[in-house]
Symmetry: C2
Subunit: 352 residues, 2 copies
């Protein structure tokens, strides 16, 4: 080993879901949206003045920040945008989780939390979900350096109620509490109204799921002005210009078209509910998902076996080889046609 190697920050990197490059596949493995972005997005791209690319973008990303603030009824000073919610969350970890006390998050949750903590050398403790995959809020009512959880949780899809989130916030007024609402648009209740009362709350959203724009890398945080100021200071110390001109332009356009947004959400929710019924009829069980995926286990067929069988048919779902969830599949909600083909194969495979 070269001596410079002893000073390398060695990490166990996050493993993203497979991104196979096949054209004829059914991709239900990374919670992407099956519908295209708002129609105006195409127009914005076609009309884009390419000469603008030679200029740095607005470092404050005011166009997008203002649009999001207006949409959510907040001040622009309460909104922070970044390169996907992963960028936003990583900046939150870097900015706020500097205590010697451990930050807390569920044992079964978004698999990036422990990766960020390890990389940034932040002490952490995981708190087990109960047998039904619920977060037990008492677990988080103990001395800590901060709290983070997705709501609905990933990859379980289970929602934590607003009243419980408020209890948790009240107890944890001395630390930052992050509610990662990547999937909230698909029918769960948002923690946003709590921002008025709790200046230690951060609510994080993404354009990757409900807005059909995983390829544009846009995420954002909403919080008190104080929190957003601290976040921006660190962001400006890391990379002043993160959002590129085209992403800003398409992001603004997406927020403007609320009609299309709602329409897409309703379609996905309807398909999800129909898929739940079909899966239950095939012997699967799952908690009631409020997201764009279903986290299901089968009464007799091992998850890994079904995962491999689906893959051979070019149907991709997500399997996590992790304790407690290694007999589950996370199935993203696609179009009705995609779900029909998925269900048809599963029915055949199970011999029903």
């Amino acid at each position: 080993m070269k001596s410079w190697e002893s000073y390398v920050r060695k990490v166990v990197p996050y493993t993203p879901g497979e991104q196979p490059k096949k054209t004829k596949m059914i991709k239900l493995n990374t919670n992407e949206n099956p519908y295209p972005p708002a129609p105006g997005v195409e127009r914005v791209i076609k009309d884009f003045d390419v000469d603008r690319l030679r200029l740095y973008p607005d470092p404050a990303v005011s166009a997008l920040v203002n649009e999001l603030a207006a949409y959510h009824g907040l001040k622009p000073e309460q909104v922070f945008v970044g390169v996907g919610s992963d960028d936003v969350l990583a900046m939150c970890f870097l900015t706020f989780f500097n205590s010697e006390k451990p930050i807390l998050f569920p044992d079964i949750t978004y698999s990036f939390y422990d990766v960020w903590a390890d990389m940034l050398r932040i002490p952490y403790e995981t708190k087990p979900l109960d047998a039904d995959f619920n977060i037990s809020i008492e677990d988080y009512m103990t001395e800590n350096g901060g709290v983070i959880f997705p709501n609905p949780n990933a990859p379980t899809g289970v929602e934590l109620g607003q009243r419980e989130i408020e209890t948790l916030l009240k107890y944890n007024s001395n630390v930052i509490v992050i509610v990662d609402e990547a999937y909230v648009d698909f029918g769960a209740e948002t923690a946003l109204p709590l921002l008025e009362k709790y200046d230690n709350l951060i609510v994080v959203r993404t354009f990757s799921k409900s807005r059909s724009m995983a390829g544009s890398r846009i995420g954002y945080a909403m919080a008190s002005e104080k929190i957003i100021k601290y976040l921006n200071d660190v962001k400006y110390s890391f990379n002043s210009y993160t959002m590129d001109q085209l992403s800003i332009a398409v992001g603004v356009e997406s927020v403007k078209d609320n009609g299309y947004f709602e329409e897409t959400l309703h379609k996905i929710i309807a398909t999800r509910e129909r898929t739940k019924e079909a899966l239950a009829g095939l012997g699967f069980s799952f908690r009631d998902s409020k997201s764009n995926f279903i986290f299901a286990t089968h009464e007799s067929c091992p998850a890994k076996e079904l995962f491999e069988a689906l893959k051979k048919e070019d149907i991709y779902v997500r399997y996590f080889a992790k304790p407690r969830i290694d007999n589950y599949l996370r199935i993203t909600i696609g179009t009705d046609e995609e779900m029909d083909r998925f269900l048809e194969f599963v029915r055949r495979y199970l011999g029903r």
Copy 2:
């Protein structure tokens, strides 16, 4: 102060150059390219299949990595891409500068180096440029935790020769040495050939200056396979999907069109040389710049005064209120017409 505030990472953020939103201005303050991106970039944007935005980009950014590797005659495993060279450099600091010994860089240099070091709590020492703004390589031949400098240096435009860089690399084989080549395409010599011999060298480039794409946020690093592997591991632990679909597509197209790239460079270099002559004739002095800017001081007119006078005319240049350089202006090379208008005003202002 709320108790959570005591755990905030408090920083003095980098101050980017002004980005005034006026339409009729001459913008010579942030080293942007006055010419548009390669013509093919416009076509790629117009032809872009908007449906692709709903899918996550390729986390390995293989299309762009392969194109850059082929262009530079390297293996794809030797190339790392990021959201502008600031993202690439921040990742390098995070990954490699974890020694207790100080990293070294010039006292007059890119103003982000000390910001990153402060934010990431990396000890550092600055080494003074000599009176003519040269880097004295002996200063860097002392025990340290790493070395970084731009070549040509910013904001001076002064080049360090390849032989001296090699001497520096030989001495510092135990640490990572980063040569930040943001401006190298404008006529300086690259350190790339040294990659074959030194596995501790990282060469960083950006699309923001020579490729007219500051608005697309693309930067990259070239190094040994070992270094790139470590960098990717940390990147995947921070944000797996940083480059958005559109940026990747336009980046690939830019690299493909070498004819246009060379043509643009030649135009800027010609304008720079002409501007040097004119400035010298007006009583300015400056080191021989190998970049797309000239760092100049006037024999009688204070830099700050001229900076303010230019601003009133909507001509923006960059002024740094910092020791040793507070009587200098950094003037980006624009089009011939822009430089003529700039020079005309200066001539008038100085009463020549």
